[in-house]
């Protein structure tokens, strides 16, 4: 049996000790080639779950990413994270940000060329104005930048928080699964995204799986 890439069992996230869980009692297993769509209304806990898998918040229960704790997997460059929102690039250009992300993700591979990997990711995400200050980008291009950040250097686990459905999004989601990675997408507007994850959906209602 193949080892899972992401395994969650009774997983909960609390931003403060003793506070109400942002997401509670989530269980799922994803192996190579698998996908999962996490849906639910705003505040349902979708982003909290993705951030726990990315190692950004501590999770209770069991949560493993590529056989390690989420923070360790992220440190080893195993996780590709495409954040939500439009401000994450701040005063950087898309090229600068994706280069930095690629450099961090490949830090243990001296032979990797972060500049080349960044250019590939920007091209694959369909992001044209890669040299402009990110604050001047249209929202559509910011969402492409999030996709480029997630796929740079082809990590085995790709997390997309509120992605937009571009042709490139579809192509990259298929590519992640075809090369044996796994994909988790969080959205409150599924549209055509269920097809990209093989129809597997985790619906959160008031912070717990429905």
């Amino acid at each position: 049996m193949t080892d899972p890439l992401v395994a969650a069992e009774g997983c909960s996230v609390r931003y403060q000790r003793g506070a109400q869980a942002a997401v509670d009692d989530v269980t799922f297993t994803l192996g190579p080639g698998d996908g999962l769509l996490v849906t639910g209304a705003e505040g349902a806990g979708k982003s909290a779950l993705l951030r726990a898998i990315a190692g950004l918040v501590r999770a209770e229960g069991r949560l493993e990413v590529v056989g390690a704790a989420p923070a360790d997997a992220a440190r080893q460059g195993r996780v590709g994270f495409g954040p939500q929102g439009r401000t994450f690039a701040d005063r950087r250009t898309p090229r600068e940000l994706v280069r930095l992300v690629a450099a961090l993700r490949t830090r243990s591979s001296p032979e990797a060329d972060p500049r080349a990997l960044a250019e590939q990711a920007l091209e694959r995400a369909g992001l044209e104005p890669a040299g402009r200050d990110a604050r001047a980008l249209e929202l559509e291009d910011v969402r492409r930048l999030a996709l480029a950040c997630a796929i740079a250097a082809d990590p085995p686990v790709v997390l997309l928080d509120d992605p937009w459905e571009f042709r490139e999004t579809h192509a990259e989601c298929r590519a992640v699964r075809e090369r044996g990675g796994c994909l988790i997408i969080a959205t409150d507007d599924p549209g055509g995204l269920p097809a990209l994850v093989g129809g597997r959906v985790l619906r959160l209602v008031e912070r717990v799986p429905a």
């Binding site: 951030r51 992220a74 996780v79 590709g80 701040d90 005063r91 950087r92 992300v101 450099a103």
Partner: protein
């Protein structure tokens, strides 16, 4: 990249800060304020000219420096976290310690560069009004750099737990405490605090201290310190505040180190 992640994160934050409009405006405004300071000083002669120019310079270094230091410290991680950048970088493989070291180092460099730019402008202004290079003023700028580093790091440490506004207020309190510690200790040594003298000495031995330059204490003792160093009196008795010695310089640096460690620990524990 192994071992160089903190350097890459430092360079990234430096590049972003160099594009921030408020910082560029602050550096330029500070440098331009030298012009009216020099123009006013030029209307005086002799010691009055030196006092006038140094008063303005000390006010710029104090107030402008506080604004820059507090803003740099209070936004150390809070904005990057709120906007999602810190989370993206950590999810991409940056260790939180590296992120903290990189961003603290970048902000320290920016603070020093800002004060350095103003000091160069002040030296040019000094030469322009016929006073030549002003070494005591340059030493004062160095003392203010250490004071502002303390304030910036205090704001950074608090900013990992609370928002930027709270971090800014606490950093200002740290500034006031550091200054009061030195002034009250001076008052205790001059027998002006009575039974509170021991409390002032304990505070001096434990709390962060303001680093006062020889130039500013000399001006303060002549009631020429201006807004940066008003005359210190208790019961109408003027208290001479001594210039900081090597012990105070090292003690304040140790407090800077403590705040830097707290900021790093805060970022390690914070949800991103």
């Amino acid at each position: 990249m192994r071992g160089g992640a903190a350097g890459a994160l430092l360079a990234d934050d430096l590049a972003a800060l160099a594009r921030s409009r408020w910082l560029v405006t602050a550096v330029a405004a500070g440098a331009l304020l030298v012009v009216p300071a020099a123009a006013v000083a030029a209307t005086h002669h002799g010691l009055a000219r030196a006092d006038s120019y140094r008063q303005s310079a000390a006010s710029l270094l104090l107030l402008g420096g506080l604004v820059v230091a507090i803003t740099l410290g209070a936004t150390f991680v809070s904005l990057a976290t709120r906007r999602g950048l810190a989370g993206l970088l950590v999810a991409s493989g940056a260790e939180r310690v590296e992120l903290a070291i990189g961003r603290l180092a970048a902000r320290t460099l920016v603070l020093l560069a800002t004060l350095g730019a103003w000091t160069i402008a002040l030296q040019i202004g000094s030469a322009a009004i016929g006073r030549g290079a002003d070494l005591p003023l340059a030493v004062h700028a160095g003392a203010m750099a250490e004071n502002h580093l303390l304030v910036m790091l205090a704001a950074a440490a608090v900013g990992t737990i609370f928002g930027p506004a709270v971090a800014a207020i606490v950093a200002l309190v740290v500034w006031v405490v550091a200054r009061s510690t030195v002034e009250l200790h001076a008052a205790a040594e001059h027998g002006q605090l009575g039974s509170l003298a021991n409390a002032a000495r304990i505070a001096y031995a434990t709390l962060p201290r303001n680093v006062a330059s020889p130039m500013i204490v000399a001006m303060q003792s002549r009631a020429q310190g201006g807004p940066a160093a008003p005359r210190f009196e208790i019961n109408n008795v003027p208290i001479p505040v001594p210039a900081a010695g090597p012990g105070t310089v090292l003690w304040t640096l140790a407090w800077c180190g403590l705040f830097a460690v707290l900021a790093t620990r805060g970022l390690e524990r914070r949800p991103l």
